[in-house]
C-alpha cells in the first residue's frame, strides 16, 4: 500500500476581526498542527465533538480552505499552495460528500444536471456519453435512471444522499472526504447508505476520510480512527485497537458517553462534564486536562504537546495529564 494523502503539521488559523478598523486582533486555531496520512483503499475515521476542527480539516484536504501552514501531499504532490489551475485537475481525484444533502444539492437543478456537472467542469465526454454515465451512476447508487429528470426535493433524505454520492463518485475519484454523511438520516436509511459506501469502496478502490461524531458508525466503516480535540489529534490507531485499548483520557470519555442499545447495561463511569473550550482562547496547558481538572494538569502548562507512537500503529498525545504511561 502507498500513501494517497499525507498531511504534515497542518494548521488552519482563522483571523478574528475586531476593533474599529476590523483588523485581525486574534486568531481561531481550528486546526492546530495535525499530521496524518491515508493509504490507498483505506478508510480513516475522524471523530470528535462539534467545534474540534474536524470539518475544517476535511476542507483543508480538498483545499476548500487554504491552510495557514503545514503541508498537504496528494499522491506525492505538494498541493498546499497549488494554484487554482494546478488544483483543478486534481479535484477529479478528490471529492466530498456533505452532511445535509438538502443543502448541498442545488434545488433548482434536476438530478441529471447535478450529476452531470463534474463532467462539464472537467470537459469530459460528449453529451451522449454524459447522458449514459449519469444513468449508470444512478443505477450504481441504487436509484432508477428515471430519477434523472426530477428535482432534489422530490426525494427522501436517504435518496438525496445517494444523489450526493453519485455526484462525488462521478469522476472515479481516489479520495472521498465524507463530512457527517449519515448523521441527518434515520437509522434504517443510515444502514442502507453505509452499505452503499462500503460496496463502492470495494468496487472502485476508494479511500475515505470519514468524519462523524457517531463512534459506532465510525468504527463500523473505518480501518483506522483518529480522535480530535480542539484542533489536535489526541489519539490515532487501528479501529479495533482504539475501541479495545483507548489510551487517551478523552478517547475513553467519548467511548463511555455512547448510549448502548442494551437496557441491561448501565453506565458505570462518571460522565464527562463541561464543553470543548474556545479555540480562540485555549487554556495554557492541555485543553482536555483543563476541562476535566486532571490532577496533573499543571505539568502540561508550557509544554509542547505532540503525538508519539507507543505501539506499532498506535499514536497517542504526549500530554502528561491525559495519558497514563
Amino acid at each position: 500500500m502507498s500513501k494517497l494523502l499525507e498531511i504534515k503539521n497542518l494548521k488552519m488559523h482563522f483571523p478574528v476581526k475586531g476593533g474599529v478598523l476590523l483588523r485581525a486582533i486574534d486568531s481561531c486555531k481550528a486546526v492546530d498542527g495535525v499530521s496524518l496520512h491515508i493509504e490507498e483503499g483505506e478508510t480513516l475515521g475522524l471523530v470528535g465533538e462539534s467545534g474540534c476542527g474536524k470539518s475544517t480539516l476535511g476542507k483543508c484536504v480538498v483545499r476548500l480552505n487554504d491552510p495557514t501552514s503545514g503541508e498537504v501531499h496528494f499522491e506525492g504532490q505538494d498541493i498546499t499552495h497549488a494554484s487554482r489551475k494546478t488544483i483543478l485537475p486534481l479535484r477529479r481525484d478528490m471529492q466530498m460528500i456533505f452532511q445535509d444533502p438538502a443543502e448541498s444539492l442545488n434545488s433548482r437543478h434536476t438530478v441529471r444536471n447535478i450529476i452531470e456537472e463534474p463532467f462539464i467542469i472537467h470537459k469530459i465526454g460528449t453529451r451522449a456519453d454524459r447522458q449514459k454515465r449519469v444513468d449508470e451512476l444512478l443505477e450504481k447508487v441504487g436509484l432508477s435512471p428515471a430519477a434523472a429528470s426530477r428535482f432534489p426535493f422530490e426525494f427522501s433524505g436517504g435518496q438525496r444522499q445517494r444523489i450526493g454520492i453519485a455526484r462525488a463518485i462521478a469522476l472515479n475519484p481516489k479520495l472521498v472526504v465524507c463530512d457527517e454523511p449519515v448523521s441527518a438520516l434515520d437509522v434504517s436509511v443510515q444502514s442502507q447508505v453505509l452499505n452503499l459506501m462500503l460496496d463502492l469502496q470495494r468496487d472502485m478502490g476508494l479511500s475515505y476520510l470519514f468524519i462523524a461524531h457517531d463512534l459506532a458508525v465510525v468504527k463500523h466503516v473505518s480501518d483506522r480512527v483518529a480522535v480530535m480535540y480542539l484542533g489536535k489529534i489526541v489519539e490515532l490507531a487501528g479501529a479495533d485497537e482504539i475501541y479495545q485499548n483507548p489510551r487517551h483520557a478523552y478517547t475513553k470519555a467519548l467511548l463511555e458517553a455512547i448510549p448502548v442499545p442494551d437496557p441491561t447495561k448501565k453506565r458505570e463511569h462518571p460522565i464527562l462534564e463541561g464543553d470543548v473550550p474556545s479555540p480562540i482562547h485555549p487554556p495554557e496547558g492541555c485543553a482536555f486536562g483543563h476541562r476535566v481538572q486532571a490532577p496533573k494538569y499543571h505539568e502540561s502548562i508550557g509544554q509542547e504537546i505532540g503525538i508519539e507512537e507507543i505501539e506499532p500503529g498506535h499514536w497517542v498525545s504526549t500530554c502528561p495529564c491525559c495519558v497514563e504511561r
Binding site: Q159, S188, P259, P261, R267
Partner: protein
C-alpha cells in the same frame, strides 16, 4: 390499577393540505404511569412529534386537527379543554423540551427574562424580584455555572449543551407533572448528550415528574426509558417494557430497527442489516399493514387492506398482529 398520569385513546390527528386531508397519527393509544419515562421511537415522519404536539395542543393552526380520540391528563380530556384553559395547563402542568434550543429560545431576549416570564405568567403571587430569585435557583439546579451571569446573557452566547440546560430549566420551572421531550439530545454531541440525559433522570428522581421521551436513537431509549412505544407510519406497531422490547422484539419493524444499528462490538466493514425502501407517503398509506411493502415478506391483498389490531400478547407487551410481520413462535 396503575396510577396513569396520561392516557391516550385512539388519537387521530390530521392536517389539511392542498392535496386533501392527510392523517399523520392514526389511532394511537398508550398510557404513561406516574413517575416513569415512556419512550416513543420511530423514523422521521412516523407521527411521534405530531403525537406530542397533539398532547400539548400546539398543532400548527389552522391546518392541524385532532379528529378523534381522547387525551386524558390527570383525568381531564385535553381535547375538550378550551384554548384559554390550555394556557394554564401548558407550561405549568405539562411542559415541553424541544430538539433545537436555538430555534425554541427567543434569540433577542436574555435567557433569564425568558425563564422568569414563565413565573410571571403563571404565578400571580410572584413579583419580578421573586421571579428573578426563582429563575436563578432553577438555572443552578440544571447545572449552569454562575447563573447570575448567565441570566443576563443571550441564547447565542451559550454553548449547545448550556442552551439545552436553559430550555430544561424553563420547562421545569413550575414543577410540571409531565414533561414531553421531543428529541432533546439529537442536536448535541455524545458527551453533552450523556450530561443532559443524566440531568433529566436526576431531576426526575428529585421532582417525581413523568417523561415522554421522543427519539429515534435506540441507545437513548435503552438508557433512559421504562417503557417503549414503537411507531411506524402513524401507528403503534409494538409496545413493551424496555428490557422486554430489546430482549424479545416481536414485530418485524422493531427487529429491523434493532438490527440495523451498527454496534461497537460488531464486526467492522461487514454489511449492515437494512430495512429496504422508504416509509410510504402519507397520501397513499395502505389501510392494512403499513410495513408490509418494506418488510421483505410477501403480504396478501387482504393483509394490506385490513388494519392489524394491537394485541397484548404477554403481560405489558403489545404488538400489531399483522399475520406476516408478527409471527408467534
Amino acid at each position: 390499577m396503575p396510577d396513569n398520569i396520561l392516557e391516550i385513546r385512539n388519537l387521530v390527528t390530521a392536517f389539511d393540505t392542498e392535496g386533501g386531508q392527510l392523517t399523520a397519527v392514526d389511532g394511537v393509544s398508550f398510557e404513561v404511569e406516574r413517575g416513569t419515562t415512556l419512550g416513543v421511537v420511530g423514523e422521521s415522519g412516523c407521527g411521534k412529534s405530531v403525537t406530542a404536539l397533539s398532547i400539548m395542543r400546539l398543532l400548527p393552526q389552522p391546518m392541524g386537527h385532532i379528529l378523534d380520540g381522547e387525551i386524558r391528563f390527570e383525568g381531564v380530556d385535553l381535547t375538550k379543554v378550551p384554548a384559554d384553559g390550555m394556557h394554564e395547563i401548558r407550561g405549568a402542568k405539562i411542559s415541553m423540551i424541544f430538539q433545537e434550543p436555538m430555534t425554541a429560545l427567543n434569540p433577542v431576549h436574555r435567557i433569564g427574562r425568558q425563564i422568569s416570564e414563565v413565573f410571571l405568567l403563571h404565578r400571580k403571587d410572584m413579583d419580578k424580584k421573586a421571579a428573578w430569585k426563582a429563575s436563578i435557583d432553577i438555572l443552578e439546579k440544571v447545572g449552569i455555572p454562575s447563573p447570575e451571569i448567565r441570566y443576563g446573557e443571550y441564547p447565542h452566547q451559550l454553548s449547545g449543551g448550556m442552551r439545552q440546560r436553559a430550555m430544561i430549566a424553563m420547562a421545569l420551572a413550575l414543577k410540571p407533572s409531565l414533561v414531553i421531550a421531543d428529541e432533546p439530545t439529537t442536536a448535541l454531541d455524545v458527551t453533552v448528550q450523556a450530561q443532559i440525559l443524566n440531568l433529566m433522570s436526576d431531576l426526575q428522581k428529585e421532582m417525581g415528574m413523568s417523561i415522554v421521551l421522543i427519539t429515534h436513537d435506540l441507545g437513548v431509549i435503552a438508557e433512559t426509558c421504562d417503557e417503549v412505544v414503537v411507531m411506524y407510519a402513524g401507528r403503534i406497531v409494538e409496545r413493551a417494557p424496555v428490557k422486554e422490547l430489546f430482549a424479545n422484539p416481536l414485530h418485524a419493524y422493531t427487529r429491523g430497527l434493532l438490527h440495523s444499528i451498527p454496534r461497537l462490538d460488531g464486526k467492522r466493514k461487514t454489511r449492515l442489516n437494512t430495512i429496504e425502501g422508504n416509509v410510504p407517503a402519507l397520501k397513499d398509506m395502505p389501510d392494512g399493514c403499513r410495513f408490509g411493502a418494506r418488510s421483505g415478506i410477501e403480504h396478501t391483498a387482504e393483509e394490506l387492506t385490513r388494519r392489524p389490531q394491537l394485541e397484548e400478547v404477554s403481560p405489558g407487551h403489545w404488538v400489531a398482529t399483522c399475520p406476516k410481520c408478527y409471527q408467534p413462535e
